[in-house]
C-alpha cells in the first residue's frame, strides 16, 4: 500500500505543511486516500492582507499572455503528469480520476465527463472572455482604459482576490473561477473536504503553463476559516441552499450559487409531440448524476403528465448503481453517506401526501436507497404530483430527481417561481416573448435543449467580469 498524498496549504503558491493534518478516507474503507493540511482561520486572515502582491504578480502579464497560459493549462490539465502532494510525485490524468473517485463517490465516467467540460473552459477562454466582457478588447485591462463600441471605457478591479468556497460534490464548479486568472485576479480557494483534487490539479496545470504561483492560494480549513474568508475577501463565491442565499442577498461582495430549481416546460403547441422530447428530459434530469443546479428538477406540461412521467421513469430506471470503474456508470455515490439517508427521508415525507406518487418505483430494481461497495446511492426518482402545492413539486435534490406537474400554459409563469435554467419547448411567439420578459429565469432555452447544456460565454448565474471589475468614468486633460 502506498502512502497517501499529502495535500498541503498553498499560500500564494508556496507549499505550507500544517501540523493540523486530517485524513480523508477512501469511501467505504478505512484506508486513507489523502492527508490534508488544514490552515487556521487567523493564518488566512494574515495572508489576505498580502493578496495585493498576488495581483501584482498577475499584472506583470498581459491579458493576451494569460489567455494563452490558460489555454495551455487546459491541455496540461487534461493530459499531463502534474505535481501532487509534497514529495515530488506526479499525478497522471488517470491517477486524478482514481483519486477523485475514491473520495467523492463519483463514477470514473462522470469524472472524465467533468474533465472534458473543464478542459472546454480552459480551451474556450478567449470566447468566454469576450462573452463576459461583451467584446471588450482585453488590452483595455492591461492599460486600464480604452474604447469599446466607440465609447471610452475604463475598468477597475473590485477586489484583490476572488475567494471561492468549493463544494465536495461537483468538480465542474471549478469552471467558475478559471477565467479569473485571465482577468488578472488571483484566486483564494477553500476546497471541499472530499475534493481537494480538482482545484489542486487545475492550479498545477496553470503553474506548469507559466502562470505565477502567487496567483493561487488553497486553504483547506474548518468552518471558522471559511467564515473568515467570507467576511474578509473582496469578492466571494460560495455554494449553498436558500438560507445561504438569503443570508448574503444584500452583500455585493458575495455571490451565492444556490439551488437551481431548473425546469423543463412544454408548451400547448408542442405537447402532442411530447415523445420527441423524452431524450432531452431524461438528460436534463440525470446528467452529472443530477447533481448540478442546471439539472431539471421540475417538468411542467399542459397535459399527458402521467404518460410523460411513465416514459421518463422507464428510461431513468436503467440508471443504476454500478461499479465506479464501469464505463456505463452514471450514478454517483454520496461522499457523506448521511446525506443519502436525509434526502431519502425528505422524499418519503413528501410522498406521504395523496397528491404525490413515485412513478419510478414500479420500474426500478429495489428501493430508492441502495448500498453498493460501501457507498450509499439514491436511484433516480420521478414524482408525479397533482399540483404545485405538493411538497415535492418544487424541490431539488442531489440525485436524479424531478417532479412532473400539469399546468395550463397561461399559468406557468405565475407558478414556477425562480429558475436558474428554463427550457421551454414551444414555437408560440407570444409566450416566448413573455418568457424573455420574465425576471425569474436566469437562462432561457427555447426549443428542445436540455437544461444542462449551457454556454460559458453567456453566464447563466452572475457575470464574473462584472463581479470582479467595475466601470469608472475618466478623462485626460488636453495637453497643449
Amino acid at each position: 500500500m502506498t502512502a497517501p498524498h499529502h495535500i498541503p496549504v498553498l499560500r500564494q503558491g508556496k507549499v505550507y505543511q500544517s501540523l493540523d493534518v486530517q485524513t480523508v478516507p477512501k469511501l467505504g474503507t478505512d484506508e486513507a486516500a489523502a492527508e490534508i493540511s488544514f490552515a487556521c482561520a487567523d493564518m488566512i486572515k494574515y495572508d489576505m492582507h498580502k493578496m495585493g502582491s498576488a495581483r501584482e504578480a498577475l499584472k506583470k502579464f498581459s491579458c493576451e499572455e494569460l489567455v494563452a497560459i490558460t489555454k495551455k493549462a487546459g491541455e496540461y490539465f487534461l493530459e499531463a503528469d502534474l505535481p501532487i502532494g509534497t514529495t515530488g510525485a506526479l499525478q497522471s490524468p488517470e491517477d486524478y480520476v482514481l483519486s477523485l473517485a475514491s473520495t467523492s463517490g463519483l463514477p470514473h465516467a462522470l469524472i472524465r465527463m467533468n474533465m472534458t467540460r473543464l478542459g472546454g473552459i480552459f480551451g474556450q477562454i478567449d470566447d468566454i472572455f469576450q462573452g463576459l466582457t461583451r467584446g471588450l478588447d482585453w488590452a483595455v485591462l492591461d492599460k486600464g482604459y480604452g474604447e469599446q463600441g466607440g465609447a471610452p471605457v475604463s475598468f477597475s478591479p473590485t477586489t484583490t482576490e476572488l475567494a471561492v468556497i468549493l463544494p465536495s460534490n461537483s468538480p465542474a464548479v471549478n469552471a467558475l473561477w478559471i477565467p479569473a486568472i485571465a482577468m488578472k485576479v488571483p484566486v483564494l480557494l477553500k476546497p471541499g473536504r472530499e475534493e481537494p483534487w480538482t482545484p489542486w490539479r487545475i492550479i498545477q496545470a496553470f503553474i506548469k503553463a507559466g502562470c505565477p504561483p502567487e496567483a493561487f492560494s488553497l486553504y483547506p480549513t474548518q468552518h471558522d476559516g471559511s467564515g473568515a474568508i467570507i467576511r474578509r475577501a473582496g469578492r466571494v463565491m460560495l455554494f449553498g441552499d436558500d438560507s445561504t442565499v438569503k443570508q448574503h442577498e444584500h452583500d455585493p461582495r458575495v455571490e451565492v450559487h444556490g439551488t437551481g430549481y431548473s425546469k423543463f416546460v412544454i408548451g400547448e403547441d408542442e405537447i402532442e409531440n411530447w415523445e420527441q422530447y423524452v431524450d432531452s428530459m431524461v438528460e436534463s434530469v440525470s446528467a452529472n448524476s443530477g447533481r448540478s443546479c442546471i439539472c431539471t428538477s421540475t417538468i411542467v406540461v399542459p397535459k399527458y403528465g402521467d404518460e410523460i412521467a411513465e416514459a421518463i421513469s422507464k428510461r431513468l430506471a436503467e440508471i443504476k448503481p454500478l461499479a465506479q470503474d464501469d464505463p456505463d456508470a452514471k450514478l454517483s455515490g454520496f461522499a457523506n453517506p448521511k446525506f443519502a439517508e436525509w434526502i431519502n427521508e425528505a422524499v418519503e415525507q413528501g410522498l406521504e401526501s395523496k397528491g404525490a406518487r413515485d412513478v419510478t418505483a414500479q420500474y426500478r430494481e429495489g428501493d430508492r436507497f441502495q448500498t453498493r461497495d460501501g457507498m450509499n446511492y439514491l436511484q433516480p426518482t420521478i414524482i408525479r404530483v397533482d399540483s404545485f402545492d405538493e411538497e415535492l413539486a418544487l424541490r431539488e435534490f442531489l440525485f436524479p430527481f424531478a417532479s412532473v406537474v400539469e399546468c395550463p400554459q397561461a399559468e406557468v409563469l405565475d407558478k414556477v417561481g425562480y429558475s436558474l435554467v428554463l427550457t421551454a419547448v414551444t414555437k408560440d411567439i407570444e409566450w416566448i416573448n413573455q418568457l424573455f420578459d420574465c425576471p425569474h429565469i436566469e437562462r432561457l432555452n427555447v426549443g428542445n435543449v436540455p437544461t444542462n447544456r449551457i454556454s460559458w460565454n453567456q453566464p447563466h448565474e452572475g457575470n464574473l467580469f462584472e463581479f470582479l471589475y467595475t466601470r469608472r468614468s475618466f478623462a485626460f486633460a488636453e495637453t497643449a
Binding site: L19, D20, D42, H49
Partner: protein
C-alpha cells in the same frame, strides 16, 4: 527534584491542608460543615495525594450558591478579601475569595520566565478581561514583581459570548477592532517589552502591527486551548520568531500551569503544561470513571485540585480534556498536553472568544 521527592513534597502538602481546612481553629466553614455531613474526617483518611480521590468532585456551582464568607478560613476571619469572578455570561457569576494566592502563584511563575525575553524592569501590557478577574491584579503584580509597570486594555468576554451566541459575528469583529485600536495605540507610543493577552487577541494585534518590531520581546498567553498548529502560527508568524511565546494553562480556581517554551519547536509545538505543585494538582482522568487516572499518552478529562491555605478545591472537573504526559526534568510530576475543550471531537464548543 526527583519524582519521589516531588511526591513526598505533595503528600506533605496534602496532610498540611487537611489539617488546616478541617480543624476548627483554621478551617473553612464550608468544609467543616461538609465534614459533619459526610461523616468522615479527612484529617484521618487523607494522608497522601492518592487519597484525594476519597473526596467527591468539587462543584463550581457552590461558588455561586454559597455565600463567599463560607469559604473564608477561620484563620483569616475578619480580614477583607478579594473577590474574583469566573464565567457568568448570564446570571450570578461564580466567585472565589482570596488574599495573597495570586501573588504567590505569579511570583512562582515569574521564576520560570526568561530574563532575556521578559526583561527585569520592562513594562507590560495586559490586553484582555480585567474587571472582577484575578488576572487583572495578577498580571500587574507580575509586572511589579519584575520591576516594571503594567498598562491595561479592557475587554468584556461576557458580551462577546453573547454576540457569538446570537451569531452576530460582524459585531464581534467590530468589538475586537475597538479593543485592538486601544492596544495598538499603547504599544506604539509607550515603552513596553512584555505582553499578556489571549491567543486570538495576540493574533489580532499582530495583524495590525509587527509586535516584535515595537519592542515586545516576550508574550505570556493563556485563556483558551490552542492546537499545535495555532501555537506554531503565533510563535513563527505573529511573533515572527523574534519574541518568545509562553503558553500557560490555568484559571481563577487554580493558578498557573506552565509550559517549556524553548522546547516547543522540537515537540512540533505540542504544549505540555505542568501544574504549580504542590499548590495545585492536575490529573488526567477517565471521564466515565474519574477515580481512574489515564495512562501516559492517553486523552482524558482534566481534573484539578487546589491546595492552598486560602482555598481548598478537590477534584474539580475542568471543561477540558488533555493527554497525560510524563514528568519533565524541570517538573518532576505529570503534565497535561494538547489541551482542548472536553468533547471537542463530538460537539461544538464556544471557546476562544477573545
Amino acid at each position: 527534584m526527583t519524582a519521589d521527592e516531588a511526591k513526598s513534597q505533595l503528600d506533605d502538602r496534602v496532610r498540611e491542608m487537611m489539617a488546616w481546612h478541617f480543624s476548627e481553629e483554621t478551617g473553612t466553614p464550608f468544609w467543616l460543615d461538609w465534614m459533619k455531613e459526610a461523616g468522615w474526617d479527612p484529617r484521618e483518611e487523607v494522608k497522601c495525594s492518592d487519597d484525594i480521590v476519597k473526596f467527591p468532585h468539587f462543584q463550581d456551582e457552590w461558588l455561586r450558591d454559597e455565600k463567599n464568607e463560607r469559604f473564608v478560613p477561620n484563620a483569616y476571619k475578619g480580614r477583607p478579601f478579594n473577590i474574583f469572578e469566573t464565567g457568568g455570561t448570564t446570571g450570578l457569576p461564580k466567585q472565589r475569595v482570596g488574599w495573597d494566592d495570586y501573588k504567590h502563584d505569579y511570583e512562582q511563575f515569574s521564576d520560570q520566565l526568561s530574563d532575556e525575553y521578559f526583561p527585569k524592569g520592562g513594562n507590560w501590557i495586559m490586553v484582555g478581561p480585567t474587571g472582577p478577574r484575578r488576572l487583572r491584579l495578577a498580571v500587574e503584580h507580575l509586572a511589579n514583581h519584575r520591576g516594571g509597570s503594567c498598562y491595561h486594555v479592557d475587554l468584556d468576554p461576557r458580551w462577546v459570548k453573547r454576540l457569538i451566541g446570537r451569531k452576530e459575528l460582524d459585531q464581534v469583529e467590530r468589538y475586537q477592532a475597538h479593543v485592538m485600536a486601544q492596544a495598538v495605540e499603547i504599544i506604539k507610543h509607550r515603552d513596553i517589552s512584555c505582553i499578556f493577552t489571549t491567543p486570538k487577541l495576540l493574533a489580532s494585534i499582530g495583524e495590525r502591527i509587527s509586535i516584535a518590531d515595537h519592542g515586545i520581546k516576550g508574550c505570556f498567553c493563556g485563556g483558551t486551548s490552542m492546537t499545535p498548529e495555532y501555537v506554531r502560527f503565533l510563535q513563527e508568524e505573529v511573533l515572527e520568531n523574534k519574541a518568545l511565546f509562553v503558553p500557560t494553562y490555568g484559571n481563577t480556581l487554580m493558578g498557573l500551569a506552565v509550559s517549556i517554551p524553548e522546547e516547543l519547536p522540537e515537540n512540533n509545538y505540542s504544549v505540555t503544561y505542568y501544574a504549580p505543585q504542590p499548590r495545585a494538582i492536575l490529573r488526567i482522568v477517565d471521564p466515565e470513571k474519574t477515580e481512574i487516572t489515564k495512562d501516559y499518552g492517553e486523552y482524558g478529562r482534566v481534573e484539578l485540585t487546589t491546595l492552598t491555605h486560602e482555598f481548598f478545591m478537590p477534584r474539580f472537573l475542568e471543561r477540558d480534556e488533555a493527554i497525560r504526559r510524563k514528568p519533565h526534568a524541570r517538573y518532576a510530576w505529570d503534565g497535561v498536553g494538547d489541551v482542548r475543550p472536553f468533547g471537542a471531537l463530538t460537539k461544538t464548543v464556544i471557546e476562544g472568544v477573545y
